[in-house]
């Protein structure tokens, strides 16, 4: 059995979790093993049909008053109980902020190996092999984990969503045995960042700026462009972040985030090796840079040698026109 933990926010399953579930369905199919999903805490049952349609034979809903809000300590207790009972061969979740916080603590509890932030999973000689970028993508490492279950977190925006099929799967609601007294770290509140509807790691289009923007104001031009595009977010190079033009949550590269959107639009970014490491997984790269020798133009599918301040206004107009058609 492959068990996939589905992350919910306000009762809804995250898209990246459905990607992990889809990969679970593909590999479980190869292994001839059942696919099981689990949600923890508040869950809108109307979401269950979408989960079953992606191939989960069973969807466990673990509930307890102690699981109303996320805590690594509470969620690990609930999941460890289910793992002991269901004995899966593998436990997967999305490599989101929650997944990256939860999976290692669960692995410690289960004394299990964990492959973080995987971008490919394959069945080889009957065992699961996990491929994950190291050095922020400068190299790819493929590992096998000794013992079962093997744990993995799957990078968002990498694994394809499966096709929905008619399914006869069942939902099993279980009261989780969670000792609330053992939870010593609680989320007291969530503070929305004013400038981040969607995180760069989740966005399908990243509009990114670097030193060539010359100041914080120019990021408004990128925000305006991003606002035209669905599921987009604004990214930045390390030099723009270090200059204080935009917050670190937007930084892409080896000491920032690694992204793999459908489209990466780079403005005034030269393409230092540590930045490229964080975005070379993008499906399509378009770069605008004044310097014809800029390394980013050597990796862009479409490179424009030009002044971003001259290209941005007509680009916005052309995109508006294209979207209106």
């Amino acid at each position: 059995m492959i068990l996939v933990f589905l992350e919910t926010r306000e009762g809804k399953v995250k898209k990246s979790s459905l990607e992990a579930l889809s990969e679970g369905a593909r590999r479980a199919g190869e292994m001839g093993a059942p696919l099981t999903a689990v949600v923890v805490g508040p869950f809108d049952p109307a979401q269950a049909s979408g989960v079953r349609a992606l191939g989960a034979a069973t969807l466990y809903h673990l509930d307890s008053p102690a699981l109303e809000r996320y805590s690594s300590e509470g969620f690990v207790q609930a999941l460890a109980g289910l793992v002991a009972e269901a004995q899966p061969r593998a436990v997967w979740m999305s490599a989101t902020a929650m997944g990256r916080d939860l999976a290692p603590r669960l692995a410690a509890r289960l004394k299990a190996g964990l492959a973080s932030d995987c971008t490919k999973i394959a069945l080889a000689g009957g065992r699961l092999e996990y491929t994950r970028p190291i050095f922020a993508g400068k190299a790819l490492m493929t590992v096998a984990l000794k013992g079962e279950p093997s744990l993995a977190t799957l990078r968002p925006n990498v694994f394809a969503l499966g096709d929905a099929k008619a399914s006869s799967g069942e939902v099993v609601k279980k009261a989780a045995d969670v000792d609330a007294g053992a939870i010593k770290a609680w989320v007291e509140e969530i503070q929305k960042e004013q400038d981040a509807a969607l995180d760069v790691t989740e966005a399908e289009i990243v509009v990114s700026g670097g030193r060539g923007l010359k100041g914080a104001e120019a990021f408004d031009l990128l925000r305006e462009l991003a606002a035209l595009l669905l599921r987009s977010a604004v990214g930045a190079s390390r030099s723009a972040v270090d200059a204080g033009w935009i917050g670190h949550a937007h930084q892409i590269g080896q000491t920032g985030k690694t992204v793999s959107p459908n489209l990466y639009l780079a403005f005034g970014i030269s393409g230092a090796i540590q930045h490229l490491a964080g975005m070379l997984g993008s499906k399509v790269i378009v770069a605008v840079n004044k310097d014809p020798e800029a390394p980013i133009l050597k990796v862009a599918d479409l490179g424009v040698v030009g002044d971003l301040f001259e290209v941005l206004p007509p680009l916005k107009d052309e995109i508006k026109k294209a979207l209106a058609e």
């Binding site: 990256r100 492959a115 973080s116 050095f135 000794k146 989320v187 399509v284 479409l302 007509p314």
Partner: protein, 260 residues
């Protein structure tokens, strides 16, 4: 406050990575090594807390003797003590192996402590596993990817970065906290600090001295292969004036990339 900060020696982020001939490890010759950048924020935060509240800061590294250089750097920044847990094994990429050794060290040698600080991940292995695993093994609360930390009497508050927002987390001490960029601006070592750090004795322990068997420190991770991803090829280069370039971009996005 008794604070432990766990650090690692890693290749510089500007490094070009090469793979060893056997295809299972990164070639280390020719690389420039540094204190992992997120660990540097952790060291700085430990020093600031000590300066505000008193206490001691102990820097701990797991690795071969070459890791002494990052311990000396931490001492030069202002850490009171440094400890090397000597481990000649190659990079295992197994966070639980590392966490098991660090947890054994804390149980055997640390006495009581208030705070365990880590970088949110080591640059290179990019696992982001060890802080949560140490917390799990010791039954401590954890707060990862922290950009702001306040420690009060027996409890703390931290802001932790999540997608598009920040979580305000309250926790009791002792606790595990992992540092994200933005938590602070690390200080430079002073010349006096560097001189003092050179003279300071750094105790060296081994996993066996911490009561761990070969089985306890066996890696769960079998590296099948490490490879360099295929290079991306340069595509079309446009040098026309801005208005035409903008049209070319949109045509490309529509017809070739099909993203709008």
């Amino acid at each position: 406050m008794n604070i432990f900060v766990f650090i690692k020696r890693v290749p510089d982020t500007e490094s070009r990575i090469r793979i060893r001939d056997d295809g299972r490890a990164v070639a280390e010759d020719g690389l420039n090594f540094i204190l992992s950048p997120y660990d540097e924020y952790a060291v700085e935060e430990a020093l600031r807390l000590k300066e505000a509240k008193g206490g001691t800061v102990t820097a701990v590294a797991l690795g071969p003797e070459t890791a002494l250089v990052v311990l000396r750097k931490s001492l030069a920044m202002g850490a009171d003590e440094a400890v090397l847990i000597k481990d000649e094994a190659a990079e295992s990429y197994d966070g639980l192996r590392t966490a098991t050794i660090l947890a054994a060290y804390l149980k055997a040698k640390a006495g009581s402590f208030d705070l365990l600080l880590f970088g949110k991940q080591a640059v290179g292995s990019d696992n982001a596993q060890v802080p949560s695993m140490v917390a799990g093994l010791l039954g401590l609360p954890q707060v990862n990817v922290v950009t702001k930390l306040e420690i009060g009497d027996g409890a703390g508050t931290a802001l932790r970065e999540i997608e598009g927002s920040r979580e305000k987390v309250v926790f009791s001490l002792p606790a595990v906290v992992s540092a994200q960029k933005g938590l602070n601006e690390p200080r430079y070592e002073t010349l006096r600090g560097i001189m003092a750090a050179k003279k300071k004795a750094i105790p060296v322990l081994t996993p066996a001295e911490l009561g761990l068997s070969a089985e306890d420190t066996a890696s769960r991770v079998e590296v099948v292969r490490i490879e360099i991803p295929p290079a991306r090829k340069a595509g079309t280069l446009v040098t026309e004036p801005a208005a035409e370039a903008a049209r070319r971009i949109v045509a490309f996005l529509r017809n070739d990339a099909k993203v709008i």
